[in-house]
């Protein structure tokens, strides 16, 4: 089975500005891919190209094995798109907006179920123009979900949502991926959202793909960083900081955060014991996506 999304050497320029440069990427069916990157990294442009709103300057894109520029009508019914800052017909109600968009999709029957899914049933008759930003964002997700799409392209879908609504949305998306095998491309600035939702993370910077890793691999234990719980931590931290094989030893909340240069954890433990410190714990540290992100971007 071909990958759900195949992007090969895609470049997009707007005049002299290169928005996306030589991007190649594949997304498997049922996979949740997180798109990360600073502002202007090319995330939105990539999603626009995938959804057929923007034509690539060069390179090829295939969704479900088909070219969105040539076979758009075969792809569109299988795809749900939520663009950044979703716009609606403000003078119409939530239900009317969705019903019009559903009519264009040929799937008018699923509106109530979709409204219920995103928690919008109680405001269904309110005009969209009167809704808060968070509620509008929900309407945006609802319109993307019309017709039970197999592929969701979501550009900052949690923007403007409160913590609780964000969690609800992330749970819903995870459920769609796990139970209905919906493929999701999810762009966000929120590292913890990408960490909790995505199977894989692609980091864009200046239009280029600078990293693409499975989230589990990124979040694995870092053998060069440990938290040490020891008696008299101030003195121990000073002693450790003087060692050539230690990059840094910082005291934080009664623990010493140790980053090793070329030393090992047994070497560290042996050193502390030999120096007369009573070590009660050496806790390996997990990498965070934020650390990885900053490292990749050389920040």
């Amino acid at each position: 089975m071909p990958a759900c999304i195949q992007i090969a050497q895609v470049t997009k320029t707007f005049g002299a500005t290169v928005a996306v440069s030589d991007l190649s990427l594949e997304v498997e069916t049922g996979e949740v891919l997180g798109l990360l990157g600073p502002n202007g990294a090319g995330k939105s442009t990539t999603l626009c190209m995938l959804s057929g709103l923007v034509r690539p300057t060069s390179g090829t894109i295939a969704l479900f094995g088909k070219d969105p520029l040539v076979q758009f009508l075969d792809i569109a019914p299988r795809m749900g798109v939520l663009m950044e800052r979703p716009a609606f017909y403000n003078h119409l109600s939530v239900r009317k907006n969705l019903s019009l968009l559903a009519a264009l999709s040929g799937r008018e029957v699923t509106i109530d179920r979709t409204l219920d899914l995103v928690g919008l049933l109680r405001v269904a008759s309110q005009k969209v123009g009167k809704l808060s930003r968070g509620m509008r964002q929900r309407v945006g997700l609802a319109q993307a979900l019309i017709g039970d799409p197999e592929l969701l392209l979501l550009d900052e879908p949690t923007s403007g949502l409160d913590v609780e609504s964000t969690q609800e949305m992330l749970h819903l998306l995870r459920r769609l991926a796990d139970e209905a095998h919906v493929t999701i491309v999810f762009s966000s600035h929120m590292m913890h959202e990408v960490e909790s939702l995505c199977d894989r993370v692609a980091i864009l910077n200046g239009g280029r793909l600078v990293a693409c890793e499975a989230t589990d691999d990124l979040m694995s234990y870092d053998s060069s960083a440990v938290d040490v719980v020891v008696e008299a931590p101030e003195g121990a931290a000073r002693r450790l900081a003087d060692q050539a094989w230690v990059e840094s030893a910082t005291l934080r909340s009664g623990r010493i955060e140790v980053r090793l240069r070329d030393g090992t954890v047994p070497q560290l433990t042996a050193f502390l014991v030999a120096s007369g410190y009573k070590v009660s714990g050496v806790i390996p540290k997990r990498r965070t996506l934020q650390e990885y992100f900053l490292k990749v971007l050389n920040v």
């Binding site: 442009t45 057929g52 758009f72 569109a76 798109v81 979703p86 017909y89 019009l100």
Partner: protein, 263 residues
């Protein structure tokens, strides 16, 4: 394709019917017909009041009607671009040319609505307040009521040709801009510019606005007891208008197809 265009058209129609701005044009043209009574009063004196209809119709349609059609249609795509709603629509199974076809159909529906409304108000007023018997001279009926109705009806049909060109022109302008205000200003500004230079440049025969009066010539002529022929004027009106309507429609498709909808 026809099915998708029809669906998109019904969606556009439902949206337009729920927007207050849609009703501004119809109200204004009806006021214009009512206002025509000041210049051309009607009363039940036994003389035919087709003169009122012949005066009110071009007044309401060729000035206000065309103006309102240009304003309405120049917002059709521009408003979707400025609000960003076009991105919600064009990720559905609908091609850009089908989206434009639906917009053109909506514009034509609007223009047809204005024409029908003006006709109904002008004839209704003449019928209610005056006389609509045949046109006569010296006691002899030269044009019967039926002949006058046919001339007017044919004029209504023919008037849709320059209106179609106007709709297509305004939708084209609408695809060029990102907001409704500049779109309306540009379409009206260019229109006035062309109106101003078409005669000095000798290009009036190729400009559809030249033929706005053509549909009503036969009816107005009969009111003035002049037997006016439909052809060849009607042929030019139809040919030039439809050619321009098609040209602007193709240009709109070309522009929108090339447009990046990333913001």
């Amino acid at each position: 394709m026809i099915g998708r265009i029809w669906t998109a058209y019904t969606v556009e129609l439902r949206k337009a019917l729920r927007s207050a701005s849609t009703y501004v044009g119809p109200v204004l043209v009806m006021l214009a017909v009512a206002g025509a009574l000041v210049v051309h009063p009607v009363d039940r004196d036994g003389a035919s009041d087709y003169g009122f209809v012949a005066y009110a119709t071009p007044l309401a349609l060729n000035l206000l009607g065309i103006f309102m059609t240009l304003v309405f249609c120049s917002g059709l795509v521009a408003s979707e671009l400025s609000h960003g709603t076009i991105r919600m629509v064009l990720v559905r199974p609908l091609l850009r040319r089908e989206f434009l076809a639906a917009k053109l159909l909506l514009g034509m529906t609007y223009a047809l609505g204005l024409v029908v409304l003006v006709a109904a108000s002008a004839w209704g007023t003449a019928h209610a307040l005056g006389d609509t018997a045949g046109v006569g001279y010296g006691g002899e009926i030269l044009y019967t009521t039926s002949q006058m109705r046919w001339a007017y009806g044919a004029g209504m049909l023919l008037s849709m040709a320059p209106f179609a060109a106007a709709v297509s022109y305004a939708v084209f302008i609408s695809t060029l801009t990102r907001s409704t205000g500049p779109a309306a200003a540009l379409s009206l500004g260019l229109w006035l510019l062309v109106e101003g230079i078409k005669h000095p440049l000798g290009i009036e025969a190729y400009v559809f606005s030249t033929y706005l009066e053509t549909p009503w010539r036969v009816f107005s002529g009969r009111v003035d007891l002049i037997d006016t022929a439909w052809f060849p004027e009607a042929k030019y009106c139809l040919g030039v208008s439809l050619a321009m309507a098609l040209t602007f429609a193709f240009l709109s498709v070309y522009v929108l197809n090339r447009r990046n909808l990333n913001e």
